[in-house]
Symmetry: C2
Subunit: 234 residues, 2 copies
DNA sequence: TAGTGGTCTAGACCACCAG
DNA sequence: TGGTGGTCTAGACCACTAT
């Protein structure tokens, strides 16, 4: 005779549900039993089923709506999670020595495209910084950044010759929202020079903007050296 | 006199903790109070505090370890979540008409680089498919895919002339693990031709592999047309 | 070994929304 | 308007690990 060897945890429930979905018990679009029914079926509390189903929903496997119940998603919109570490950490993780160099520092009005993109007032003053991050002696990333002096006035007096703006901002300036965009562009003269690429070579570009309660803090264009790959498992 | 207007929820706790971190009550590296203490402070159950802190931990804001307690991360490793929809959905979401075309279909042994990359046996047979996805009349994505016939034998008999392999696989074949890698490459002759780019033009490449319980199911190289951007807010 | 987080339970109330 | 998910509680036991 079988006996409940151990207590049923939310992981067990999750696995059982995934198995059922995979094995066709609940094909795409099909409604799943309610939480109470599943709790009875699995012999656990409703809260346990709830956590399992909440996670499945967060992972994009099922849809949940009050009253309507839960359904297996027709096209599972699975999502990948990318970690966005500091460049220094990323480089040091490869075993290489991290080196940083400030290339240019300049205070001036925000360019039009940037104002439109992040929502800055017309007369907004920004600090523009260009710098390089090296892995050993090899160029790793060319950073082109604008910092809103309205939001971060103290940046005007900060010394960025030894500490990168990103690390400085992490310590100095919290943010509530961030946006990242990845794309591929062709290196212009300047970028190619900094990264040691041929002019027109393919560059992996990450653009990152952060806001503190609606007010833009900073916008960075991070150009990665040849061969850079960004990976996620999900 | 103030009065607890409503019940304290995990969102309130989370916000309060984030505020405290932002305002310097708990600077980076500092230990946070234990769950019991916080529950008392906020006037709620420990489970509520637990959920708030668990989410902060999942979001990369704090570190949690038994016995050691919770600490604010030194360098907050925030993570971005990207939705990976079906190409068709992605195109239709822009309002454009989706069109699909199969370019090439071929059965043969897996190339060496692929075997090493995904872990296929030496004699593994694969179905290779090349196809195009258009947004209206404009090329949107060139897909170059291998499907393991060991794992998905029925793919050999499937008709991919009207339905794209990705949509077919989603319906036909579940997977347990997936990996995505983004990079920028220069278009070779073939890719340039398919996407209407100059030879050597920058291409945003997403490589996607899926496994079902350790066994590789499929590997796809998705080449996006000029100007493609992949965005996440976090 | 003791303290902290991890999880489960049984019960409860509430918000939402499809019928 | 009733059923479903969303959340909270109070209490409990357990697993891990720093000391």
């Amino acid at each position: 005779m079988t006996q409940a060897a151990t207590r049923v945890g939310y992981r067990d429930v999750k696995r059982a549900l995934l198995d059922g979905i995979r094995d066709g018990e609940w094909p795409p679009g099909a409604p799943l039993p309610g939480e109470v029914a599943l709790a009875a079926r699995f012999g656990c509390a409703r809260a346990t089923v709830n956590r399992a189903m909440r996670e499945l929903s967060e992972e994009g496997i099922i849809d949940r709506r009050r009253k309507a119940g839960s359904r297996v998603k027709l096209s599972p919109t699975r999502q990948a999670r990318f970690e966005i570490p500091l460049v220094r950490i990323e480089i040091e993780a490869t075993g290489a020595a991290y080196r940083y160099a400030l290339i240019r520092r300049e205070i001036g009005p925000a360019p039009d495209w940037l104002r439109g993109r992040v929502g800055l007032p017309d007369d907004a003053a920004t600090l523009r910084l260009q710098c390089m991050h090296y892995a050993g002696t090899a160029p790793f990333q060319f950073e082109d950044r604008w910092i809103s002096l309205d939001r971060v006035p103290q940046a005007a007096d900060a010394d960025f010759s030894a500490l990168g703006p990103n690390e400085w901002l992490v310590r100095e300036m919290p943010f509530t929202t961030a946006q990242v965009t990845f794309s591929a562009i062709e290196a212009d003269e300047a970028v190619a020079g900094h990264l040691g690429l041929p002019h027109g070579g393919a560059v992996f570009l990450a653009e990152r903007t952060t806001w503190l309660d609606e007010a833009p803090v900073t916008h960075a264009r991070l150009h990665f050296a040849r061969g850079y790959r960004m990976t996620a498992v999900y």
